[in-house]
């Protein structure tokens, strides 16, 4: 074997294991889900029947799917707005010198490090109708069709705002102090500095962070599953929860896969929308 051939082999040898593992979670599942979504396939009977696009036609008329999509969009939109506002506030606070800055920078890592399942349990306790510290005596937020979703959003906001803050803080630290000094010399007000310097210079990091969070919130599963399992009356059922229940509770791998593909398409559209918005800003 010549040196050059062995070089090339080594080069690809380094890549192949990682590429194989990625194919295992990207190409193989998507193709399999697509194929399963065209079949009637109940796991326990282990019997497959080709039904074409029937299940997709059913999906379009499935009120539970549309309600899950609506719940997911609502959860994502409200959680994302709150997380960006709280995260930005925390980041700007952490970017200032004050006594106890180190303590705050350590404390924001706590919600990030706590497993989502545990954080849902923490909040389930705080929301408990009789014992909870946060709810008025006797109010059952987790059992209320109008409040349960907001309880789930609270858990997500608590868990991930600090993460948003850390990313935005890194962005703020990248803005040179000279720019601020120049603006202050020119007599710009704090609000003016925030609008004309901080926000535009933070925009790229803010965009990436918001897109990452939006995608994460869109596939929310853990927090809602532990808090309410999608209840009461499916009012907190998101796409991930509905898909999971159809696949693993009902054992319907056919229609469950149709829902999985629909969830995938929605997430892909969200990504495209986010990336498109960011590119337009950049121009």
């Amino acid at each position: 074997m010549t040196g050059a051939t062995s070089e090339r082999l080594q080069r690809w040898g380094l890549m192949v294991p990682a590429l194989g593992a990625l194919a295992f979670v990207l190409i193989y599942p998507l193709l399999t889900s697509l194929w399963l979504s065209l079949h009637r396939f109940i796991l326990v009977f282990d019997e497959r029947k080709f039904v074409g696009v029937d299940q997709y036609a059913f999906l379009l008329t499935d009120a539970r799917f549309w309600s899950a999509l609506g719940n997911t969009v609502y959860f994502t939109a409200v959680a994302l707005c709150l997380e960006v506002v709280i995260g930005l506030g925390l980041a700007m606070l952490m970017n200032q010198p004050f006594r106890g800055q180190g303590l705050l920078r350590a404390a924001v890592l706590v919600p990030w490090a706590i497993p989502t399942v545990v954080s849902a349990k923490l909040w389930a306790w705080l929301f408990h109708p009789e014992l909870g510290w946060l709810v008025p005596e006797g109010a059952n937020w987790l059992g209320s069709p109008t409040q349960a979703m907001h309880a789930a959003i609270t858990v997500d906001v608590w868990k991930t705002s600090p993460f948003v803050a850390l990313l935005l803080l890194a962005g703020l630290q990248g803005i040179s102090e000279d720019v601020y000094q120049a603006a202050r010399l020119d007599g710009a007000s704090a609000l003016r500095i925030f609008r004309s310097i901080t926000l535009p210079m933070l925009a790229p990091v803010l965009g990436v962070t918001a897109l990452m969070r939006a995608l994460d919130a869109f596939r929310v599963f853990d927090a809602i599953y532990v808090l309410t399992e999608g209840g009461p009356a499916n009012t907190t059922e998101t796409l991930s929860i509905y898909t999971y229940k159809t696949l693993m509770r009902a054992g319907d791998f056919g229609y469950g896969s149709t829902l999985a593909i629909a969830t995938f398409i929605c997430a892909a559209l969200l990504t495209a929308l986010g990336a498109g918005l960011m590119n337009r800003r950049r121009r």
């Binding site: 979670v25 998507l30 606070l93 404390a107 497993p115 545990v118």
Partner: protein
């Protein structure tokens, strides 16, 4: 003005840490359902109950094993590929990085049923170590991106010098790049470990026996008898969270570096 900041910061610290502190109070107060908010007679009873539960101990062991194996596999495979992407001229570098990004945006639930069928076919379903395969695949994009960024920061001359001295690419990676990018490798390993320790959806789907559960699944299904065992759940929560928080605080700078590397450098 400085005291206003300190006051705001105090509120922020309470917001971040408060729920966990309350849970710690609940865990030492088995009679917390009687209405008093602060434990009058704190006891460690709930901790003893939890630590005497063989299924919970098994779950701790499963989580530790799965998270460790996932970390080793992701950093190993990711490191090799990242090195090739950062320093060897690999054709199709951009599409490969784009594909890894696509994986990280995939809703996990969209891949649950095929992975379930694949692990069942391999005889790995309902075995905790079977989780290492999907976990490694899902952690790879993160490991690959971070390590590529960290390796790219090291000068090309290092690579050329090692080659002149007769090192193969694999030797260069092992003896030159991994040691020099040590802090970056540590950041990556910590983030992967935390991801694997906390993962819930796949652990819930791919295991069913109590002896194969990981910690998040065990906690989500924690019940003894009819009454919800608040003190026990709280004790278990504190037990599985504390090591993670200590790890995070001990490696605070490394973790923040890892978390921000992706968003800020992109």
């Amino acid at each position: 003005m400085s005291w206003v900041r300190s006051l705001l910061a105090l509120a922020a610290v309470v917001f971040c840490v408060g729920p966990l502190v309350i849970q710690a109070l609940v865990s030492v107060d088995p009679e917390s359902d009687l209405g008093s908010r602060f434990p009058d007679r704190p006891t460690v009873e709930a901790y003893l109950t939890v630590l005497a539960d063989p299924n919970f101990l098994r779950a701790l062991w499963n989580s530790l094993l799965v998270a460790t194996l996932t970390t080793v596999a992701s950093v190993g495979l990711g490191g090799m590929a990242a090195f090739a992407l950062a320093k060897l001229r690999i054709p199709g570098r951009a599409p490969i990085l784009a594909a890894t990004l696509a994986v990280s945006m995939l809703p996990p639930v969209a891949t649950v049923s095929p992975i379930f069928l694949a692990l069942r076919a391999m005889g790995l379903r309902d075995l905790a170590p079977g989780l290492v395969l999907p976990y490694t695949s899902f952690a790879l994009p993160l490991a690959l991106w971070l390590l590529t960024a960290f390796f790219a920061e090291l000068p090309d001359e290092l690579f050329q010098a090692a080659r002149m001295d007769g090192c193969s690419p694999l030797q260069t990676l092992r003896h030159v790049f991994i040691p020099l990018a040590g802090p970056g490798v540590a950041s990556t390993a910590l983030l992967v470990f935390v991801f694997a320790w906390n993962e819930f959806l796949f652990a819930l789907t791919l295991t069913s026996s109590p002896s194969q559960r990981t910690v998040p699944v065990a906690i989500s299904l924690f019940t003894t008898g009819q009454k919800e065992p608040f003190a026990e759940v709280a004790a278990a929560s504190v037990l599985v969270t504390l090591p993670l928080i200590l790890l995070t605080l001990a490696f605070q700078r490394r973790i923040v570096a890892g978390l921000t590397a992706g968003a800020v450098k992109a």
